[in-house]
Amino acid sequence: MVKMRLTQAINAAYFEEMERNERIVLFGEDVEVSMFGDTRGLHAKFGSKRVRNTPISESAMTGMAVGAAMAGTPTICHLMFSNFALTGFDGIANQAAKLRLMTGGQARLPVTFVAAIGAGTSTGAQHSDTPYPMFMNLGGINIAVPATPADAKGLMKSALRGFNPTIFLLPRVRGATAGEVSEDPDFLVPYGKASVLQEGTDITIVAIGSCVNHAVRAAKALKEDGVSVELIDPRTLVPLDTDTIVASVRKTGRLVVADEARDRCSAASHIAAVVGDEAFSSLRAPIKRVTAPNIPMPYAPALERALLPDPEKIVAAAMLTMAG
């Protein structure tokens, strides 16, 4: 085990998998300089054949990534901020997510789109989104939202060994958080398997991405109030490990979902709907969602703070649920 930051863990995953499979290529805007640090050193190591800076041409980048993957080259397409996935949305939404089905299962699409998500540093509404709900609705693309360095590494390695299109979202503000990471070259984290961070009996908290850290702190505070929390991080939203979540709610009878996406059609609302369907008779209180409101993110820092999920909001939601 070695301690590293989330971006370093992703960096290590790229290095290991690109060494293991010399067909993997990576491209994106300024991936050589690497503003977030995750692609640092790759160009020096693997050269311009496999690691390329692109022009600012997201529609070409995403389309080409899908085409390269179809033609047998596993491709990492780095999109910097997830908002730029939207200028390249055709390659992701109409192509990557649809082609395998439309080709009657002929196409294998080993393509991984990488982008940073989340608000909290006053980057304004066009650099602050948490758009995984949009991707969840596309039908045919996996979504990883790691919250710890270990999960980031294992999920990236699994994506790069697989043959399904994946969008890999890194919580930007948490990129600097450090954690223990395995050095086993075959350390993989499976898609569709939630991580139970803490077992408990009174309430289930499902937290996604940047909210995992908040939920850990909320669970500590709740423990002091005598509330035993079961804390689940789904890690991937497609596929989503509903079995683990539903089983937990059957045990605790209560659910809070914390998700930085806007509330409307969020991951939280989807999880709430599934639990409502499958564990209705176990619920002892209404399900609560801690999400961002249905508005673009304002710039002023106090407003941003007021609108985003935080440990206090998760505790408040949990207490309401406990009272119910």
């Binding site: 300024d30 300089v33 022009p55 600012i56 041409s57 304004g124 066009q126 002023a300 820092p301």
Partner: protein, 335 residues
């Protein structure tokens, strides 16, 4: 296909040149203040400064009225001020205050003043090109002789939207001026590594009048823009200007925090310092006997006072409240 030439010997005359010198100075000093505020940690977010590129915004916007439109970029402070926005509303916005141009909800990358026809800085590279072309469509339909200008970078030129817009603008004869601010870099990548061929040739291929000019020569920009904007007003369609320039500051002020190595040489930056458009225009005015050393001091003093006032105004202003947010999502409708 033969394309009309944008060259004419129009000149603005010394008084107008002096006013433009003062505008450039206002942009420079305002941004120096914001750069200092960024480095001291006083600003909530990042800033992309345009120091060295001011002549393009100022010379082009000198031909525009508040009824004309400007679409801008992530590096938009200069366009905002050149289009008539005030230093007060700019500085307050970037400081995240309710008295800012967008009530503190937009920030540096979104400074907008619709009362001045400034339809916005933009956080999406290429985003402003589409918006400006749409404003040109609106102007064409309104039939009042308004025009729209899109400012964008050399990096943005490789976004598909530029080609799409050029095609439509020529087909529809939109009253649009496309201004590529070619500063040689797209973030940390030298332009030649991300743009094939000459950007101006892309515009020529669509059959629009196109000029490549020295963007640090305010008079040269002014003269070419005069013709292009006149053509647009008369319904003769779009034009393209590629203005060669250089940003004297980093891509963003915070870049030293993550760069592992320099991406351009000190030599190169020093070279371009000698071509700074501001001293260059001042020198020219001195040669024309239209400006004295005392005049320059007076201009500097005016601008310094304006920036100081604006900063104080920002410091004394309140941050926006939630009500402003909730009333700013939809018109007459709560989110």
């Amino acid at each position: 296909m033969s394309q009309p030439d944008l060259h004419h010997n129009f000149t603005p005359g010394p008084e107008r040149l002096k006013a433009m010198l003062e505008r450039m100075l206002l942009i420079r000093r305002t941004e120096e203040q914001l750069g200092a505020d960024s480095r001291s940690g006083e600003l909530p977010g990042n800033v992309h400064l345009c120091a060295g590129q001011e002549a393009i915004a100022v010379a082009v916007c000198d031909h525009l009225s508040d009824d004309d439109y400007v679409g801008s970029t992530h590096r938009g402070h200069g366009h905002f001020l050149a289009k008539g926005g005030s230093a007060k509303s700019l500085i307050a916005e970037v400081h995240g205050k309710s008295s800012g141009a967008c009530g503190g909800l937009g920030g540096s990358m979104h400074v907008t003043d619709l009362s001045k026809g400034m339809i916005g800085a933009n956080g999406i590279v290429g985003g402003g090109i589409g918006l400006a072309a749409g404003a040109a469509l609106s102007a064409q339909v309104a039939g009042q002789g308004q025009v729209a200008v899109a400012f964008f970078g050399d990096g943005a030129s490789s976004q598909g939207i530029l080609s799409e817009v050029m095609n439509i603008a020529v087909l529809w004869k939109l009253p649009l001026l496309l201004v590529c601010e070619y500063n040689g870099y797209s973030e940390f990548s030298a332009s030649a590594t991300v743009n094939a061929g000459e950007i101006a040739d892309r515009a020529r291929a669509f059959g629009m009048p196109t000029e490549v000019i020295d963007g640090n020569d305010l008079e040269a920009v002014w003269a070419v823009a005069a013709v292009a904007i006149d053509r647009a007003r008369k319904g003769e369609g779009p034009s393209f200007i590629e203005a060669k320039t250089y940003r004297l500051r980093g891509h963003l002020e915070a870049e030293d925090g993550f760069l592992q190595a320099p991406y351009r040489s000190e030599d190169e930056i020093d070279q371009w310092r000698t071509r700074d458009p501001i001293p260059r225009l001042a020198q020219r005015l001195v040669e024309l006997s239209a400006l004295t050393a005392t005049d320059i001091e007076a201009l500097e003093a005016n601008v310094a006072a304006e920036v100081k006032d604006a900063l104080q105004f920002a410091h004394e202003s309140e941050p926006p409240g939630m009500e402003r947010v909730l009333s700013s999502v939809f018109v007459d409708q709560r989110p």
